[in-house]
Each structure stands twice: as C-alpha cells, then as structure tokens.
Amino acid sequence: MEDETLETKWGAGQMKMVDKHAKGELMEAKGGRGFVHPISLILHPSKTYGMSRALVDFIIVMSVLLLLSFLAEAQEISKEQIKGLDEQVQEIKSDVLGIAAELSQLEEKLLYPSNTQVAVFVALAAGETFRLDSVEVQLGGKPVAHHLYTFKELEALQKGGVQRLYTGNIRTGEHDLQVSYAGKSQGGADLRRTENFKVHKDIGPRIVEISLAAHTITFKDR
C-alpha cells in the first residue's frame, strides 16, 4: 500500500500526459502489462536493495510529514480574491488619474498661465527614417530645452507620436526661436541642422509645432 502511494505521488508530479502513465505503472506493477513510465520502475520502493525496512519507513514517513507541513503553510488563492483585488486596483488607478488631471490644471494655472504660455512640440516628418540623436531649442537667444533621444522615444516619434519638448512663459510680442538637431542618416552620415522662426505671442497660449526631416525643419504656430 505504501508502495502504491509513492507510485501515485511520482506520477502526479509529471507533466499532464503522465496522468495516464501513472495508471500504466500500476498496471505494469500488478499485471506486467500496459504502458510503463520506465523511471518509476527504477524507483520502485518495493525493491529496497539492501536498505533496511526501517530506513524505508522513515523516508516514507518523512515524505508524508513534509507534504503535510507544506499543505499546512500553503494558502490557496482563489480567482475571486484575485479579481476582487484587481477591481480595487482599477479603482485606485482611476482615482489617481483624477488627481493627476486636477494637478495638471493647477500646474498650468500656476506655472504657465495662458497669457504667457508657449509650448514647443516636436515631431518627425512622415516617412522619415533618419536617427535623431538630440534636439536643442533656444528662445530669445537663450537655450530653453535640450533633449537626447532614447531608442524608445525615437521609435515613438517615428510611429507618429509628438513630443512636447518645452513649456514656458514669454511676453506678448515677437520672439526668436531657434531649433537645432543632430542625428545620423540611414547611411551613417552625420546630420546637423539649425533653423530660425519668429514666434508671435498674443493673449492666448501659443503652440509651436516643429517637424524634423533629414534636410529641413518646418515650423507651424497657432
């Protein structure tokens, strides 16, 4: 009986297909026919090969004790528990998104009021495949933004994403904007380009959209 218990445990530890193998083992052990999982034969504890019966009993008892101790400490986690917690996580995400929205409104009002706000967005021209390494923006002759691109950021730009590179404050009136970029062409040649643009700031927030291509930089403001 003990022998059979061990056999079954061994079988249960195998991959799914072994469920049937385990039955085969028993068939083999009892009737000498059917499908046999060979490794179980070498481990058949009825063949103690010189080990004392007491030692075998000890090993079996220890195995059972270990199994029982495992069962005692294992806490099964139900699908409902996982689902319930997941729903609470979804709720807190929603709450935090709400806080983020309020904070971004506060930040905009406090730091970038609409009468002085200017935002500079950068995109890659459609179909551009050159590798953009860095972009620098100068406003009124002063550097205000410099960005080095990671692979992920570059990929996002190439897929049509638009990066807000700079948000700041300027007076109403006309301002010089200078944009420079550095990169590499597909052939590996260095690419560097600088272009200037006049930003006309009036009462409302001003958005400048910059489109980078291998040989041109185009500007659009609204």
Partner: protein, 620 residues
C-alpha cells in the same frame, strides 16, 4: 489539452496619417512607449477640454475625435483598467456614430470581455455586430469570434470560421492551431491532428509563429506519446526547436519516446542535452534521473551510480536553495527586488531578476511568472508602486507650489497698494481723456451737417477775438462816441478774423479729422496698455490668491490615495508572496520525491555494480 491561443495584438493605436492636434500626438507619444498612465492622463484632459467647447468643430481634435475616443479606451485596456475601457467604448457605441465605427467599438468591447474571462458576455457583444465592418479589423474580428465560440463550447461554428481564416495575414499558425484544437474538441480527431500537424510545419519566421509551431508539435507529440505511438511522437517532438520555450519539455519527451521502445542509447541523446541545462527547470531535473536510468538499462551501473549520486547532490542543493528562497520571500526580499528601478529599463527583466543578488527565489519562478494570474498580480503590484512614487512626488510638488505662492504673495503684497493707487489716478485721467475725445468726435460729426467754423478757430484767433471784444467793451463802457477810424479798424480786424476762419474752414475741418484719426490711434494704444495692465494686475492676484483651498483638497486626496495604495500593495504583495511560496513549496516537494527516488536508485545501482564486479571477479 492546450487551450486556444490568442494571436498577438497591437498595443497602441497607430497615429493618424495627418495629425492635426499636437496634444493627441503627445498622448500617442507616451502610449507608443508603453507609458499608459501619462497617455491616459493627457488624452483624458484633451478630450475633456474638447467636449467642454461651445464649438468643438473649431478644435483641432475634432478631426481625430473618433480615433481619440477609441484610443483612450485602448490605453485604459493596456493599463488594465477594463471597467473604464468598457465604459469608454460603450459611450462610443451609444453615440451617434457610423456603422463601421460602432462595429469596431463592439469588437473592442467583446475583446475586453474575452480577455477578462467572460465568454458569455463576449459572445453577446460580438453577436451585436451587424453590417459594415472596417476592413482592417475584419480578420481579427473573425478570429476573436472563433475564440469566443470555442470558449462557449461551440466548436463547430468556431471551426467553420477558422477554416475561412487559414490564409489570413498575421494569423498564420494561430488560426491553424486553434482550428486543430476546435476539431479535436468537436470529436473530429484525425482532422484536428492534421491541422495541428500543419501548424507544426508553418514556414513563418516571426518569434510568435515559431512559438506556436513549437507548441503545436509539443501538444500533438505529447498526445501521440500518451497513445504510445512512439515513432510518430518522436518525429513531432524532434521538430521543436532546441532553443525555444518548449524545448526542454520536448527533449524530455523525445527521450521517453525512445526509452519506451527500449532504445536507451538513442534516448540518451536528447536527455544528455537536457541534463546540462538550467537545473531549476522541472524537465531538466527529471532528465537528471532519466539519464542514469538509461545507463542502468544499458548495464553501465557504475556510471549510473555516479550520475545518481551527482543528481542527489544537486537535488539536495536545490532543496536548500528552495528553502532559502521561501525564507527570503517571507523576509520581503522578493517584493523589494521586484520594484528595483534598474529592472524597469529592461524588457527582459524577468530573466534579469534571476541574476540579482538576494533574490534566489526567482530561479524557480519563471514558470509561475508566465502564469496569467501571477502576471496580472505582479503588474498590479508594479503599477501600484508606480502610483505610490507618483503620489509622493506630487505631494512634494504641492509643497513647492505652496512655497512659490508664498514667495509671490510676499513680493506682490507690499507693491500692490501703491500700484493700485497710481492705477486709480491714471484710470480717472484716462476716462477724462476718453470723454474729451468722444466730445470732439461728436462735434466734428455735427459740423458735417451744420458747419461751425468758429469751433475750428485757432488759439491765436480766439485770443485776438477776445481782445477785440474787450476793446469794444471798454469803448462801450466809456459811454463816449467811438471815433470812426477806430470803429473801422475794429471792424476790419474782426472781418479779417472772420475771413480767415470761414475761408480756411474746409482745410481746418479736414485737418481736424486727421488729428482725430491720430488721436484714435493714440487712444487704441492707451486702451491696449490699459488692458495689458489690467490683465497683468489680475495675473498678479491670480498667481498667489485662491489656491489654498484647492491645494488643501488635493493634499487630502493624495493622502487618501496613498493610504489606499499602501493597503492594496500590502495585500497584493502578500498575494504574490503566497503564490511564490506555494510554487516553491510545490517544487520543493517534487524535488524531495526525486531525492528519495535518487537515493533508492543510487543504492540499487551500487548494488548492481558491486554484484557485476563480484561476478566478473568470480568469472576471472
């Protein structure tokens, strides 16, 4: 039997060909990097602003509004906010949209239900699709429909759809594998096997296609092995790549396919490859017993004994390692390792996690980490940690805002009373001047109808006229008769003045209009400066007043959210730890069984080897 396999799906909505709204583009920029929180936050803000407009058709988002509504649902889905994503999509469905847009929305809703293991609702949703479907989702919709039907046990209909999808691009292998499974479930055993066999031979080279090819071969190979068709099982198992995720299992079973036929030398080939692999893998551990078993069967008992001994040592080491891992998890090392910053930079972080010091537990958790429940719980934990970091940063942002507001207040408060006084003085002067200008304008307009040359007399002329009038007054007051010569001179002077005023009237009127025009320009400048001053003055007040309540409220919200997150992280962390401990305990139990068996087998092999040597000696 393996369940259905979903085809790989796109994670972020593609950008429109001609992007007109930079803020929508910004949300896509974050989404394309997998930064879902930032993507949702930005797109939510943009959509809220758009919907609050009186004339949304003038907004640049108007051109992308349908795509943006979908995108926010997609981002929420990717951020695993299924409830919100579902609500966003239902809004699209219930809105006044065209049939293809509505059908695409229903498709997305059905996908959410399916992913959330709600096949009945998914089926209900997908059955609402009627009429035109956008061409780009046609195959994906059919594939989803088939998966949903399979999940609802309707294998005949699923198989019918999957048959139609055999040539669909992007679904190569997936449609064939699922068709095989659907047919098997429908009882069409041979046909199902044929499709699994076909999926196991697809020529695609993408990682996903290769993985499904391996899976098909392993599933079918295992099935044949179960049925004791060893020769064919081996053929299929040997198709599995040696480097793929299913290779260990395939090598193990390939060895058994030989061993079951008594071909132990051949069985040693895959097992010997396997036995040198990562010792924590269950298949490798089984191979560590299988190899000496094969040597035993080949009557090489001494080698078998040595290898059993080596396996036993390794099992003991691994059991100790598992014990250490369970202890380490209970001490919180596992959770601390999971949130290490450097791991987030690496897409292959689960593998890198194994190499970190103080995280021995992760050696045995790769299988567990691949399980859906664990993955979802782990993502929740990591996202909660991300939110916790954000909230902490925001709280210090609020401190900075308060300091900024305090500094602004300290700067403006002493200045503003004097500025306001000066402004009031200038304001009254300005109003006076504006009234004067208005009067002049009214007069000039009246003079166009009823000319009044006297209004346009110069200053000198007015003084002269007043001098003449004064002289006349004096003469009249004297009472004496005015000499004729003087009277004539006075009349002449008055006549001269009159002549000049009347003859120059037209020119003077033109000049007056010109001057009024110049005055208007000066007044416009004045008004602009006035408006700019008023705005700046308002901005000065707005930059430091009216924030206290808002900031206090946000602090309360942040504090509440932080408390909730701390509690949820503790619960989610405990759940992860429990899952990990359960998995490690299961593996330890398994190894302990192996250990017992290795001990018996070791003793047996020594016994046999000794007997063989004795017999050899006796024979000699």
């Amino acid at each position: 039997m393996a369940a259905t396999v979903p085809a790989p799906t796109a994670t972020a909505a593609p950008a429109p060909k001609s992007l007109k709204d930079a803020y929508f583009g910004e949300a896509l920029y974050y989404a394309l990097q997998g930064q879902w929180f930032d993507a949702i936050a930005r797109l939510d803000a943009e959509l809220a602003q758009h919907h609050a407009l009186d004339e949304p058709q003038l907004d640049t988002l108007y051109y992308h509004i349908n795509q943006a509504e979908f995108a926010v649902g997609d981002f929420e889905l990717a951020y695993r906010m299924h409830h919100r994503a579902g609500r966003a999509i239902v809004r699209v469905i219930e809105g006044n949209v065209e049939e293809p847009v509505r059908n695409e929305a229903v498709f997305r809703l059905a996908r959410i239900y399916f992913q959330k293991d709600q096949p009945v609702q998914a089926l209900y949703a997908v059955e609402r699709i009627r009429g035109a479907v956008p061409p780009q989702i046609r195959d994906d919709l059919a594939f989803l429909r088939a998966q949903i039907l399979m999940a609802n046990g309707r294998f005949v209909e699923a198989a019918h759809i999957l048959r139609e999808l055999q040539a669909a691009r992007g679904l190569e292998g997936f449609s064939t594998y699922n068709l095989g499974i659907a047919l098997l479930k429908d009882g069409k055993e041979q046909e199902g096997r044929n499709f699994l066999d076909r999926a196991g031979q697809i020529g695609e080279s993408s990682a996903a296609a290769l993985a499904i090819r391996d899976k098909s071969n392993l599933v079918l190979g295992s099935k044949l092995l179960e049925e004791r068709d060893f020769e064919r099982a081996k053929q299929l198992l040997d198709r599995v790549r040696l480097s793929g995720p299913f290779s260990n299992r395939a090598l193990l079973e390939s060895g058994w396919a030989d061993a079951f036929q008594g071909r132990f030398e051949r069985a040693l080939l895959p097992w010997s490859i396997l036995v040198d692999r990562e010792v924590t893998d269950a298949a490798v551990q089984e191979a560590m017993l299988a190899v000496p078993y094969a040597y035993g069967k080949l009557n090489v008992h001494s080698k078998a004994a040595l290898m059993y001994g080596s396996a036993l040592e390794k099992f003991i080491t691994e059991i100790d390692k598992l014990g250490d891992s369970i202890k380490s998890i209970r001490e919180g090392h596992f959770l601390r390792a999971l949130v290490r910053e450097e791991l987030k930079q690496d897409a292959n972080w689960v593998v890198r996690l194994r190499n970190l010091p103080q995280t021995p537990e992760t050696y045995y958790l790769l299988d567990l980490m691949a399980a859906h429940d664990f993955q979802e719980s782990l993502k929740n934990y990591l996202e909660l940690e991300e939110l916790r970091t954000k909230l902490a940063a925001w709280e210090s942002d609020l401190d900075a805002f308060e300091e900024l507001i305090g500094q602004r207040r300290a700067y403006y408060q002493p200045l503003l009373p004097a500025i306001d006084r000066e402004f009031r003085r200038l304001d009254s002067q300005m109003r006076l001047r504006l009234e004067q200008r208005d009067r002049i304008e009214q007069r000039l307009e009246a003079m166009l109808v009823a000319p009044r040359p006297d209004y346009l007399a110069t200053g000198a002329e007015r003084i002269a006229a007043e001098g003449i009038a004064r002289l006349e007054g004096k003469l009249a007051a004297a009472g004496a008769a005015v000499p004729g010569a003087i009277e004539a001179r006075i009349r002449r002077l008055r006549g001269l003045l009159h002549w000049n005023i009347y003859t120059q009237y037209d020119r003077r009127l033109t000049e007056a209009h010109k001057n009024l025009h110049d005055l208007n320009q000066a007044m416009d400048l004045l008004k602009r400066r006035y408006t700019a001053f008023v705005r700046t003055r308002q901005a000065a007040t707005q930059s430091c007043e009216g924030y206290d309540d808002g900031i206090r409220r946000k602090r309360i919200l942040i504090r509440g959210a932080r408390e909730t997150i701390t509690e949820l992280m503790a619960r989610q962390g405990h759940m992860l730890e429990t899952m990990a401990v359960n998995e490690l305990s299961r593996r330890r139990e398994h190894l302990e069984e192996f250990q017992i068996k290795a001990r018996f087998a070791l003793a047996d092999s020594y016994d046999r080897a000794t007997r063989a040597q004795t017999q050899e000696r006796v024979g000699r």
